[in-house]
């Protein structure tokens, strides 16, 4: 039980700091802004109370906003992400059984499934985020371009991070 809380709190703090101190300072050609802090929301237990999920997403988004002085921007995008998450999980994995506290992680969903799950949710989050940030349909194509590139980079980074931090199963001999 406490293991679940500790793990998620550590994950929250690490991801926020990594996002704010490292990724927000990276300038990859102006078009690519990876936002990997949403991995925290992606990995919350699958059976979590849906309202709690929304509130956690709101708090996460506001924390990022607080550091970037973009009050409301990330909160709006992350709440929408959390709103979409149960539906997406159900859509891609209708028959999958989750025990309580089980995370929809790469081991559970298999690499292919986790990639689908991540890609779709990251795309939803980034679309809202970048359009709200520009707040106009001027330069529509340039915004689309930024969304596409950033979605790819964020997904790639999330896959790499989860692969690094997932304990390997022992090989059967």
């Amino acid at each position: 039980m406490s293991n679940l809380y500790t793990r998620n709190i550590i994950r929250f703090i690490t991801l926020i700091f990594f996002q704010v101190l490292v990724l927000n300072n990276m300038n990859l050609g102006g078009y690519i802004n990876p936002y990997i802090y949403i991995l925290f929301i992606l990995l919350l237990p699958a059976t979590i109370n849906k309202s709690l999920l929304l509130i956690m997403a709101f708090v996460t988004g506001l924390t990022i906003d607080y550091f970037g002085n973009t009050l409301g921007l990330h909160a709006a995008a992350t709440v929408l992400l959390a709103f979409a998450r149960p539906g997406i999980l159900n859509f891609f994995f209708p028959n999958m059984e989750f025990s309580s506290e089980e995370e929809p992680n790469i081991t559970k969903l298999k690499p292919g499934g986790f990639l689908k799950y991540t890609l779709v949710l990251v795309f939803i989050h980034h679309s809202v985020l970048f359009f709200l940030e520009v707040f106009s349909f001027d330069g529509f194509l340039s915004t689309i371009y930024r969304i596409a590139l950033s979605t790819l980079v964020t997904t790639l980074m999330i896959m790499i991070i989860t692969l690094i931090f997932t304990p390997r199963k022992k090989k059967k001999i």
Partner: protein
């Protein structure tokens, strides 16, 4: 009434979603206007302290470049001492009078890749910094202070959708405006250029001094490309900012000592 509560409780997921989204969007839209962003900004000592300790570490990596810039600037200032009354093409020469007061500050956090970029500086209200003071780097205009806490100040970078700087074309003193289109942090736009004026690559755009925030004649950028349109009264040009926002580290905060006086005078005559 009872039914309503039962209904809301049954659909609590959706209702909560709508509520949280509305709160976020309200925050967001409030922050879109320039005057609101003066009032609603999260300058505070918590995020400031975290950014400060982080930049204490990362500053070491930029020391070499920064030293180079400082020595260049020293050389520049030294050159000014001797021919003090001869007119020169430099940054600080015009302001020998005591109308402007310069304070130095160091950048603690900065961004260039968003649509609205901000800079956090390591000096705040305790050093006499107030909102609406100008910020320049050694190579040109950088932004405007929008909020202060005792130890930090928050600066709206020139790379911000709400930032519009009153400027002059240096060669003929025509008034124009400079803003940023959100694409490339190296390039800005000059708008409101009278159509009979032709700009060439390399023409300097300097601050006009009309806003009482920046002194007159501080370099903003140099023209890259001027597009004349036949049917419009006003044309636009692309400039290359003289400040490299991505490597911004040491800046000067400018206080206009006569600003309050001028503001009082102006506000005494409503229109």
């Amino acid at each position: 009434m009872r039914n309503l509560i039962v209904f809301l409780w049954k659909h609590q997921f959706f209702v909560l979603f709508i509520i949280l989204e509305s709160i976020s969007l309200t925050f967001l839209f409030n922050s879109y206007s320039y005057h609101r962003s003066l009032a609603f900004n999260s300058v505070n000592d918590i995020t400031g302290t975290i950014y400060l300790s982080y930049s204490n570490v990362t500053d070491y990596f930029g020391l070499k470049n920064e030293n180079e810039k400082l020595t260049n600037e020293n050389a520049f200032l030294r050159n000014l001492i001797r021919p003090i009354n001869s007119e020169s093409d430099t940054l600080f020469s015009v302001h020998q009078d005591s109308q402007y007061f310069y304070r130095t500050a160091k950048v603690v956090s900065n961004s260039v890749n968003k649509q609205n970029n901000y800079v956090l500086l390591n000096k705040g209200g305790d050093y006499g910094i107030k909102p609406e003071m100008g910020v320049i780097s050694s190579s040109g205009i950088a932004g405007i202070v929008i909020g202060v806490s005792p130890d930090f100040s928050y600066v709206m970078s020139l790379l911000h959708q709400n930032c519009r700087i009153s400027a002059r074309i240096k060669k003929n003193n025509h008034l124009v405006n400079v803003l940023w289109d959100g694409n490339n942090y190296k390039e800005g736009m000059v708008v409101d250029i009278p159509s009979h004026i032709e700009l060439h690559k390399g023409d300097s755009i300097v601050s006009s001094g009309n806003s009482l925030i920046f002194p007159e004649g501080i370099l903003i950028g140099r023209v890259n490309e001027h597009t004349q349109s036949a049917n419009k009264d006003l044309s636009e040009a692309v400039i290359e900012f003289s400040t490299d926002f991505n490597s911004l580290q040491n800046v000067y905060i400018i206080e206009n000592l006569t600003k309050t006086e001028a503001d009082t005078l102006v506000s005494a005559f409503p229109n």
